[in-house]
């Protein structure tokens, strides 16, 4: 048994002694520990074509490095497949993106890909309309949603520390 787990059981034991709503210490700890599990399995991509999926995967990775390994492309496929309007926007946007240069988006060098996305991003950030801007906005939103709700994004990248058992909430001790 790890020290962390022993500590948690000790705290819960102390709670349990006075609780009129009986529950076992393991049960409560199990609920907390459960959150340490892996990402839920995503359904196999079914909305995008193979070529579209290649583009989505590359786009997600350019927007947030690490997104592809975190399963974000499959997440995007699932969300987009359930929303007709979003599906149309994404499908047309991917086709539009491939028309912006002689080669398909995925065949461009990383530098060329970034150069293609930069003006879209700056327009999206400043709220200016333009060709491909809504598509980029949607793609970035989906990537951010998928990544920062994944275990890789939330727990490993950002370092989420909540959902634990504290016996007291620590007061602030540093100077502001």
């Amino acid at each position: 048994m790890s020290d962390d787990r022993r500590e948690a059981l000790k705290i819960i034991g102390a709670i349990g002694a006075t609780c009129a709503f009986p529950f076992s210490a393991d049960e409560l700890y199990a609920q907390h520990a459960h959150s340490a599990g892996p990402d839920a399995a995503l359904p196999k991509p079914s909305f995008f074509t193979k070529e579209e999926m290649e583009s989505v995967t590359r786009l997600a990775e350019v927007i947030i490095p690490g997104a592809a390994a975190a399963g974000v492309p499959a997440y995007i496929d699932m969300v987009v497949g359930k929303n007709e309007g979003l599906g149309k926007l994404m499908r047309e946007g991917l086709a539009w993106l491939d028309r912006q240069s002689p080669a398909r988006f995925v065949a461009l060098t990383p530098e060329q890909q970034v150069a293609l996305l930069e003006p879209l991003c700056s327009r999206a950030d400043s709220g200016q309309p333009g060709d491909g801007v809504d598509f980029f906005r949607a793609m970035k939103n989906l990537t951010a949603d998928g990544y920062y709700t994944s275990r890789a994004g939330l727990v490993e990248e950002l370092g989420y520390l909540g959902n634990t058992v504290l016996d007291r909430f620590p007061a602030c001790t540093h100077e502001h």
């Binding site: 819960i12 709670i15 997440y75 058992v165």
Partner: protein, 521 residues
Amino acid sequence: MQDTIFDVVVVGSGASGGTLAGHLAQAGVSVAVVEGGPRINTRTDFNTHALPHQFPNRHIPTMKPGKPGFESERARGVGGKSLTWNAVALRFSPRDFKGRTREGAGEDWPIAYSDLAPYYDAIEREVGVCGNRDGLPDLPDGVFQPPVAMKCTDVAVMKGAAKLGVKVIHVRKATLSRAAFGRPACHFCGNCMAGCDVVAKYNSADVHLAPAMKGGRLRLFSDSIVREVVVTPENRVSGVRFLNRQTKAEGEVKGRVVVVSCACVQSVGLLLMSRSRLYPVGLANSSGQLGKHFIPHFTGGVQCFLKEFIGVPVTNEEGYLDHAYIPSFMHDRERGYARSFGIQFNYQNRRSVGWARSVPGFGESYKKAVKDRYPAFLTFSPYGEMLPNPGSYIDLDWEKKDSHGLPVARRHVAWAENDWRIFRSMTDWSVRILESAGAEIHSVSQEPRTNHELGGCRMGTDPKTSVVNGWCQSHDVKNLFVVDGSVFPSASEKNPTHTMMALAVRTAAYIAEGLKRGELA
């Protein structure tokens, strides 16, 4: 069972109905609680400790698989919204009851703070409210458990606010900071609104209803969606008719007194759909006031990053959501509007990173910007008091039926000039306070949103302009009561549940006394 006549039939089992029913049972009155939702085991049925990545669509369902409640139409569960509230427990102040007298706008309550004070005491003594005794004239102190320490980010906001003469206090919550009443103290997992699985946070099912059921005076009819409060030709209510949530079978519970406590909009809806020969436009509605004066709180919101926390190592700041509060400070300042606002803040959960969408850029620099800002993110939600206006009301859509064939209650909200003035003022102040605390502003809400539904069944002394009297008793039908947020004639800017619970205890005492004297039945 058909022949049982309970002393009191209570519709709804949330903070109001649950508290009232528990107190009636304690007073020796036989009570039936009729609740549209299923029984919920707070220990095991909620997804309290889940994280988004455990679900393919990253949405955490409120209930565990196969556990009914909350997700389905017209079925929340025994305990109502008290199961998922944030537990902020503020007393209203003397000012809040006399708004019209004080400012010439809105309405006065027919009761005063002193009428409710003993009942706030009673609630605090029996459910446990933690907080600091701050000695503020506009936010009366109560019988408190020790407060919980503020978060580091709260302290930063407190210092910024102090420079503007604005006070930040410890929040007051009906969550235990110390084990008491056979319940454990909070363990600060940060999942209060996902359903507290150890009942450190108050809920009516475990704290008020369960002990009363054990005592044998309270009978619970769960999964029973009330569709009519029955009125006799002698102008008395005799009970309620309901539909089983699953089988849709009809049922009836009879009582000497009926209390409607199924939350503001649903309580008004139930009375409006209880049409009879005596009351063709809704029960207890001879005044035509039922549904009018809908005065939900409105909130805005500012999201920011506190600069001094950008890039610092992440700490576990989940706590029990918000640990601090900014009480109203405008009510006695020059301001160009009636009423005021208070500010809830820093209640966001660190598992929700929706703000990452609108951080500029992409690629490694974007990813770093999000990571650096993660420990610094903070939300402000000021809450303002709305004044009643003719464009804000509740009615029924008789054309649109729910899956039980019952008309759907509609909310109509129109913002008037005073509301906009408060909204602009509370937004400006939020930004000023945050900037004073060294914040980088991320987003500012431009439109009010409603929360804390109140009004529609307001209490008053004049039967022509109000639905219930100062005892929450119908002007029209003497053995009918309404106890929840719908009876509030004015809303205050303070979170309302504590006042609903105090009203419930006061009304329970009045009903128990009335039954004893034979005046109600």
